[in-house]
Symmetry: C2
Subunit: 327 residues, 2 copies
DNA sequence: CTGAAAGCGCTTACAG
DNA sequence: CTGAAAGCGCTTACAG
């Protein structure tokens, strides 16, 4: 690997000058600049990013901390984050935690020791708070409201999501509507629950719910409990699009059909929701926008050099598909 | 942030000594070691990994380069990679390329400029070869055989996969069996195709196939063409589990049922395959093992300091589920 | 506009 | 066993 000094020697200038033409950080005579560019091309010089990071105290890295990348919603968000980061010259470190507090803490520590520029995190972990508090990196949370310890939060309107999904089922003629309620440590889950309850109350319907996690397995457990407790549910609000898959399966086993016997509304609007059979009616979050905005907020903080509290809430939209039928 | 010099001062030793107790790289008197540990605890010292990387020319990072993390198979592999990397103190950089040659090249360049320790890559991109060739990092490919330019390859037995899937359909009574053939730049796709053809020939069956990419959308296109050209297919070998979803959908639209009217065998064995309705019979790759082994090979090369060519092929297994029925 | 020099925060020969 | 010093490869005040 060629070093900056090799380029400098070849171009007959100092390393400082080479650095300046590479970064465009100061005026350099066109004559020398030309020689430098030529020397760079000849040597195939690729600046060592680590050396730069050490001096600048920034490695142009963003950590994406999630319970599991196998959660499709999170992987779609990750996709958007990666894309937005890349186009701004940033890299993303994938941090899968399995909700393991030690792994979460280790990653947070690791990221700060690497001069990362920010953290985007989803983790319903209470223990994490101290760890995050002692971390001076900009932190954007995706699953709860920004607290004293987070610099910013980017979410979609969960209250509205819970509400419109419920109202839609009511419009479809359902009276016995059961919500698969997400973990209540997440303020997003709380809000969705509230939206659901309010919609029920406004229509004189009794709110019913079971607890459930977001992923395949947890969703399956939640779905099982749902059918045990509410075998006569007419409409179901799935905790996630993925969980709806488990609903399909159990309903299929019971020989009940969707939407004729039971209607389902998913949540998230992942790509998969459209490809399921039947295609899933769902509350779509603006996944792309959430990911991009989260990165945008980090970059903003990096530029300003100070951490500002921000709270972004995007609107959600109901995608009408085949698992519900309006009368 | 406390620096190593702060710890040294507090403990009344030199930075060298602090470094030695942290890394256990040389003997230090128990007395001083104790003082150092105490000082570390008091200052909350967290060594700057970037500084270490600069000196060691290793950032303990592995790049995972894939067309798209939205491909569930690749995200499950990524999950395994992340896990194995983490337990060895390595971080993984998520590099999504969308098969964009420029993005791929940029990531490869970025990774070497960051003193990354290796690259694990899936990318059916020819243009990439020069880029990889000029990169001295250990490179493990997942989708083709190791060539002059790759240090190692980790795959599962695609030939066998294509073969056993076909034989299974034959055993199920299918005679008109269509393969959704993956991109032939991948040697894995080629092998699978060969396994299919051989099985057909051995049973006097005419090989039939359409071309298809792996993901949702490409799979849908492939599936459409398949039904256009072979409306009377009895058995279908999906290019991936995800593509099978599109098959379900089209078949559903045609009012044909699985497995009674048509049988389907998926490929990959992602978690999702088990949760689909009907549950998908599929050729499962040892995803966890592949990811772990890929990381293992990188670490091995890092330790040895030299790049050795290796070719790992894991066995595949047929998971019998609901989309096929033996007679 | 340009270069010599210091500095980013560690690690490790080297000498003792 | 231990410390002073050099070095990893850049960037940027500072002086000119």
């Amino acid at each position: 690997m060629a070093h900056i000094s090799d380029v400098a020697r070849l171009a007959g200038v100092s390393s400082a000058t080479v650095s300046r033409v590479i970064n465009g950080t100061a005026k350099v005579s066109e004559e020398k600049a030309r020689r430098v560019r030529k020397a760079i091309a000849e040597t195939g010089f690729n600046p060592n990013e680590i050396a730069r990071s050490l001096y600048k105290k920034s490695s142009r890295m963003i950590g994406y901390i999630v319970p599991s990348i196998l959660n499709i919603f999170l992987s779609e968000i990750g996709r958007a984050i990666e894309d937005e980061a890349f186009r701004n010259g940033y890299k993303v470190i994938l941090c899968n935690t399995d909700q393991n507090p030690e792994k979460e803490a280790a990653y947070i520590k690791m990221l700060s020791s690497m001069n990362a520029d920010g953290i985007i995190i989803t983790a319903n972990n209470e223990h994490l708070d101290e760890e995050l508090e002692s971390c001076r990196l900009p932190i954007v949370v995706l699953d709860k409201s920004a607290g004293a310890r987070y610099s910013a939060s980017v979410q979609s309107d969960s209250y509205e999501g819970g509400k419109i999904a419920t109202e839609h089922l009511i419009r479809c003629g359902c009276r016995k509507i059961v919500l698969m309620r997400g973990p209540q440590q997440y303020s997003s889950s709380q809000q969705r629950f509230l939206g659901y309850v309010d919609a029920c109350n406004e229509h004189g319907i009794q709110p019913l719910f079971v607890e459930s996690g977001f992923d395949y397995r947890e969703g399956r457990d939640g779905a099982r409990e749902l059918f045990r407790r509410f075998p006569d549910a007419e409409g179901i609000l799935a905790v996630s699009d993925m969980a709806a898959l488990s609903l399909y399966r159990l309903l299929h086993e019971q020989g009940r059909s969707v939407p004729d016997d039971v209607m389902i509304v998913g949540y998230d609007g992942v790509e998969l929701s459209e490809l399921m059979t039947p295609a899933l009616t769902t509350v779509a979050q603006p996944i792309e926008a959430i990911g991009r905005r989260a990165v945008g907020l980090i970059l903003e903080q990096v530029e300003k050099g100070k951490i500002e509290q921000r709270e972004i809430i995007f609107p959600v939209t109901l995608k009408l598909r085949e698992t519900t039928k309006q009368i």
